[in-house]
Structure formats: structure tokens, C-alpha cells
């Protein structure tokens, strides 16, 4: 159970999709890739809007598509949200929201109108017409309308792409809430990693119509093979931490990461809550000496060298894969490598120069 298995093959002139994937059918799965990599087509196949010549789709043990059967889109119990809100212009907000709800059997309605309207903060918009709403409001209505069908799967195709930063920060917390409060798995298509780094659990990386990599976000972001796919500036580590203490005298918040302590500037998050942090591989400094001595770096993690990356004849830098309970990638200079003489299995201190908190977009 809790598994989404899909296999699709499409041959159009000038475009091929040949995808096979198994991802958890819970949490947020992000399909990531450059434009033209087949993200939207994959989403349309999952939704049933596209009927590929060769297709297989099974969710939580239920087959939605194989050689013999094909459940049409209206019977799939999916919610779809696109870049444009696609609200019905002839209906007011309330009627837009209720369109799918009224077409869902009463005993299948897991989400109730008031609940969704409250979570998405739509109560004051109900009597208005779509054209009177801002882009962000429209997108919230579109999400609410999809949710009110009590979908087994929520499919989102670049839902924030047409919005500016301000509106993105307005909507991202809602998407997070949906997954948590309504327990609806989300497949989210995007070409912008920044937008989803705080949401994503599973990454599906597409390239030219094929799956290049699938994995938990914590592994994908320290995988040197994906440097090109996810971008040099993103590679490093994504760590799940727990807020353990606020140190008011120094204006810091203490985080627990697998039994080790990280300090970040004072966060307005209650103790006991989780916080995802992102570390850039070039912000990881390696040292063989114990940090007991004087250093201005506050965050030092004990780790082991797992693998020393390939040396490129002309490059000045080299990737070092570390194991600190979770994988961390460090990019150091070749000169430093020869000085430290790193060997696999060797204990090392990883000094973290900068940490990016992944709730920052929420504006908390």
C-alpha cells in the first residue's frame, strides 16, 4: 500500500515519454526537470487526460490503467491544479468550490466545505466572481475546489509559476497544510527547485522524457551525479532537524540533528517542531582537528568520509561525500584535499558556514 506505480510510453513526432516509476503515495513528490522534459505530459497521463498507447498505473493497490482497463479522468478521484487557476468564469467562488463537491458521493466526501474554506482562508471571497480576485486568491480557490472532491491524489502543474514571490509565500504554507491536515498525497510538477524545497519528500527528476533519478530529497541533494540536473547551487544537503531550545541571550535557536546540535538565528517556531535546513556543498569546510580549539564557526558536525570524488584534470575542486547519519556533500579544493589526505572511513569535522532555513518563504 501507499505506493504509486506508473509506466507510460508515448511516441509523438519530436517528443518521447518513456517513464517508469514507483513512488510513495503519501507526502509531496516533486517531478522536476527542464521545460520539454515531459513533466506536464507525465502529469496528464497520471490524471487520465492523456491516454498513452502503453500505460500502467496503480495506486494503493488499485489499478487505474493497464492493457485492458482505463478509468476515465472523471472517475479517478484526482484533484488537478494548473498554472492558471482555470476557475469557471460563469460561477461565483462558492459555486466554483462546490462544483466538484456536489459531484462527489456523500459517503466519499472526506473534506467538508467549511473546513477547506477556513484552511485556505476563502471565507470572505465566496460571493465574488473569479475575475474580481487576485492571482493568489484565484489559485487558492482552484486548490480548494480540487480538494473538495476529496481526491486520492492531488496533481499540481507549476501551480505557483504565474505568481510573484509575495503570492508564492502566501500559497506555499497552504500546500504544506493540505498534505499534513488532509493527508492527501501530492504530485507537484515544477522547474523551480527553490519553490518546493521546503515541501518535497520524494524527488522525481526527469530528463528528455525519461526518469533520471528518484529518491528521498535528503539523498537527492547530496548526489553528485545530479549536479547538472538539480543545479550546482542547490547541491549539498537537506537535513531534517528538531527545534530543541531558544537561546534568548545570544538570539539563537538550537536544533537537533541526529543527536548533534546546530545553531541558527532565533526562529519563531515552537520547541518540538521540525525545521528543514538546506546546506550548500561549498559552505561545508572540512577539518581533521577537533573544534574544541578556537573557531568562529558555530556549527560543526561529526561525520565520516564516505567517498572522495573523482578528480578532474583541470578542475580545482573536488566533491567529498560525508556520512553524518544522513549524507552531506562537501566541495573543497584539490589543494585542500592533498593537504588533508582524506581516506574513506576517516572521521572528520564538517564546519557549516551557512544554513538556509526552509520555512523562510512562509514569512514566519
Amino acid at each position: 500500500m501507499d505506493l504509486l506505480e506508473a509506466k507510460f510510453k508515448i511516441d509523438y513526432p519530436g517528443f518521447n515519454l518513456d517513464v517508469e516509476m514507483r513512488i510513495p503515495s503519501k507526502g509531496v513528490s516533486v517531478v522536476f526537470g527542464p521545460s520539454g522534459s515531459g513533466k506536464t505530459t507525465l502529469l496528464r497521463c497520471l490524471s487520465g487526460l492523456e491516454k498513452p498507447s502503453l500505460g500502467y498505473l496503480k495506486i494503493d493497490g488499485h489499478v487505474w490503467q493497464d492493457e485492458e482497463s482505463f478509468i476515465p479522468v472523471q472517475d479517478r478521484k484526482i484533484g488537478l491544479v494548473f498554472q492558471e487557476s482555470r476557475l469557471f468564469p460563469h460561477l461565483n467562488i462558492k459555486k466554483n468550490l462546490l462544483y466538484g463537491y456536489q459531484r462527489t458521493f456523500p459517503d466519499e466526501r472526506k473534506l467538508q466545505f467549511d473546513e477547506v474554506a477556513q484552511v485556505l482562508n476563502l471565507e470572505n471571497l465566496l460571493q465574488r466572481r473569479p475575475e474580481k480576485l487576485s492571482g493568489g486568491e484565484r489559485q487558492r480557490v482552484a486548490i480548494g475546489r480540487a480538494l473538495l472532491t476529496s481526491p486520492k491524489l492531488l496533481l499540481m502543474d507549476e501551480p505557483l509559476a504565474s505568481l510573484d514571490m509575495q503570492l508564492k509565500t502566501e500559497i506555499i504554507p497552504f500546500i504544506k497544510k493540505i498534505e499534513k491536515e488532509f493527508n492527501t498525497p501530492i504530485v507537484y510538477v515544477t522547474h523551480s527547485m527553490n519553490e518546493v524545497l521546503q515541501l518535497v519528500d520524494t524527488m522525481v527528476i526527469l530528463k528528455a522524457g525519461k526518469v533520471e533519478n528518484i529518491g528521498p530529497v535528503q539523498e537527492v541533494f547530496s548526489d553528485v551525479r545530479l549536479r547538472e540536473a538539480i543545479g550546482d547551487e542547490q547541491l549539498g544537503a537537506v537535513l531534517e532537524t528538531l527545534v530543541t531550545e531558544h537561546d534568548e541571550s545570544f538570539g539563537l535557536t538550537k536544533l537537533d540533528f541526529m543527536g548533534q546540535v546546530l545553531h541558527v538565528p532565533r526562529q519563531h517556531i515552537p520547541v518540538g517542531h521540525s525545521l528543514r535546513v538546506h546546506i550548500h556543498s561549498k559552505d561545508v569546510i572540512l577539518s581533521t582537528l577537533s573544534p574544541a580549539g578556537a573557531t568562529s564557526v558555530l556549527n560543526v558536525l561529526r561525520a565520516k568520509v564516505k567517498k572522495v570524488g573523482e578528480l578532474k584534470p583541470k578542475g580545482y575542486s573536488v566533491d567529498i561525500e560525508l556520512d553524518a547519519g544522513r549524507p552531506i556533500l562537501a566541495t573543497i579544493t584539490r589543494k585542500s584535499l592533498s593537504k588533508l589526505n582524506l581516506q574513506p572511513g576517516q572521521p572528520i569535522y564538517a564546519h557549516i558556514k551557512a544554513i538556509k532555513m526552509m520555512h523562510e518563504l512562509e514569512g514566519l
Binding site: 479522468v73 469557471f88 468564469p89 462544483y99 473569479p130 475575475e131
Partner: protein
């Protein structure tokens, strides 16, 4: 006292003919227009051309063929006569059939372009929200195609009201049965009864103008589409 009666009859027949024709055309034209807007079939061009044919054919050509087909020995008129004992040519029913064909493009084309400008998205969206295609058509597509329907109704009605050639050929000129306003005007002019011709012509002119004014002002008020 006979004259006013004679005048009212063609008006009533004209309105009845136009009304019945428009209702039939909406029922018939909607699926044709929808199919034309959706299909990628090669036959699309053929159907599109057939629908548009009455626009370019002289009414007498259409009337001539219809007269033959609907006549007592025609493909359609023959069996109908065998079954019911009456012919379709020179009857009101025959006029309805002829007008339906003749006014077909005036209903199908506005609907076709309305459906085309709506595009695929609203249908897909409605389906993703659990609506069947038929449900989605009536709950989303039809309201979005309001302008198209309004134009189709008015053009279909007005065009049927104004037709002359086809009606003359298929319906003949039978008072109280197939004599419509346009033919009545022609008759009055023929016998130099200009007063009667004036009343009918001016009536038709004002009526047509008013209808168009109403349609265009409603069209302006209908909300535009937003995405």
C-alpha cells in the same frame, strides 16, 4: 374585414416557421458544431463544407433539389406519402425541413466558433472535478457559449424569417399554409398594393432592427471569460 386577416396569417406562419426551425436547428446544430470544434477527423472539412453550402448556393438550386426530394416521388417525400398520404412539398412541414437546411450554417457557425474559443480546458477541468462529459457540457460549456447561442438563435430566426426563394419553390404560395411574409410582400407589390407592402416591409424592418439592438446590447453585458 378580410384584408387584415389576410395580413395576419403570413406573419403568424413566418413566426411559427422561424421558431420551429430555430428549435430544431439548436438541437441538431449543437452536436454538429461540438463535433466540428473537437474532432481531428479528416471528414471535418467535408462536413464543414456541407454545412456552409447553403451560404453560397442560390436558394433556387437548393429549392429545386428539395422540391424533387420532398415531392411525392422523391426519396423522402415518397415514403412519407406512402405512410401518411400527404406530400411534404407544398406543406408547412416541408417548409420546416427546407428552412432547417437553408438556415443551418447560421446556427452551426456561431456555435462552432463559440465552442472553439472556449477550448479544451473548461471541459477537462469539469471532468477532473468528477463531471461526465454530458454533465460538463450542460453545466460549463453551454453557459460559456451563451453569446454563441444568442447569435445562433437570432441569426437562425432572422434568416428563416427573411428567406424567399427556397420557400417559394418548396412551399409554393398557399395562403394560410405556406404563404409567409416575404412572399406576401412580393404578392402585394405585384398587384401594386403598396400600402400593404409598406406596412409589412416596415414591420419586418423595425422588428429585425430591434432584435439586433437587443442582441448586441445583451452581448456587451455578458461577462468576458477569464482564465
Amino acid at each position: 374585414m378580410d384584408i387584415p386577416l389576410m395580413d395576419a396569417e403570413p406573419i403568424w406562419i413566418s413566426l411559427k416557421l422561424a421558431g420551429v426551425t430555430v428549435v430544431i436547428l439548436l438541437v441538431l446544430g449543437t452536436p454538429i458544431a461540438w463535433w466540428l470544434a473537437q474532432t481531428r477527423s479528416h471528414y471535418r472539412v467535408v462536413i464543414e463544407s456541407l454545412v456552409a453550402l447553403p451560404l453560397v448556393l442560390p436558394p433556387t438550386v437548393l429549392g429545386f433539389y428539395l422540391l424533387i426530394i420532398l415531392g411525392p416521388h422523391g426519396w423522402v417525400g415518397g415514403p412519407v406519402k406512402a405512410l401518411t398520404g400527404s406530400t411534404l412539398s407544398f406543406s408547412f412541414l416541408g417548409l420546416v425541413l427546407a428552412s432547417t437546411l437553408y438556415s443551418l450554417p447560421f446556427v452551426v457557425q456561431p456555435l462552432h466558433s463559440a465552442f472553439e474559443s472556449i477550448g479544451k480546458v473548461p471541459m477537462e477541468t469539469a471532468q477532473s472535478l468528477g463531471a461526465s462529459r454530458l454533465d460538463a457540457f450542460f453545466s460549463v460549456i453551454t453557459p460559456l457559449a451563451r453569446r454563441g447561442y444568442l447569435t445562433a438563435i437570432v441569426l437562425g430566426f432572422a434568416h428563416t424569417l427573411g428567406e424567399f426563394g427556397v420557400v417559394l419553390m418548396v412551399g409554393g404560395n398557399i395562403p394560410g399554409k405556406t404563404k409567409v411574409i416575404s412572399i406576401e410582400i412580393y404578392d402585394r407589390v405585384e398587384v401594386l398594393e403598396y400600402t400593404q407592402a409598406h406596412i409589412l416591409s416596415a414591420g419586418l424592418l423595425i422588428f429585425s432592427f430591434l432584435i439586433l439592438v437587443i442582441v448586441y446590447s445583451i452581448n456587451r453585458k455578458l461577462p468576458m471569460q477569464v482564465t
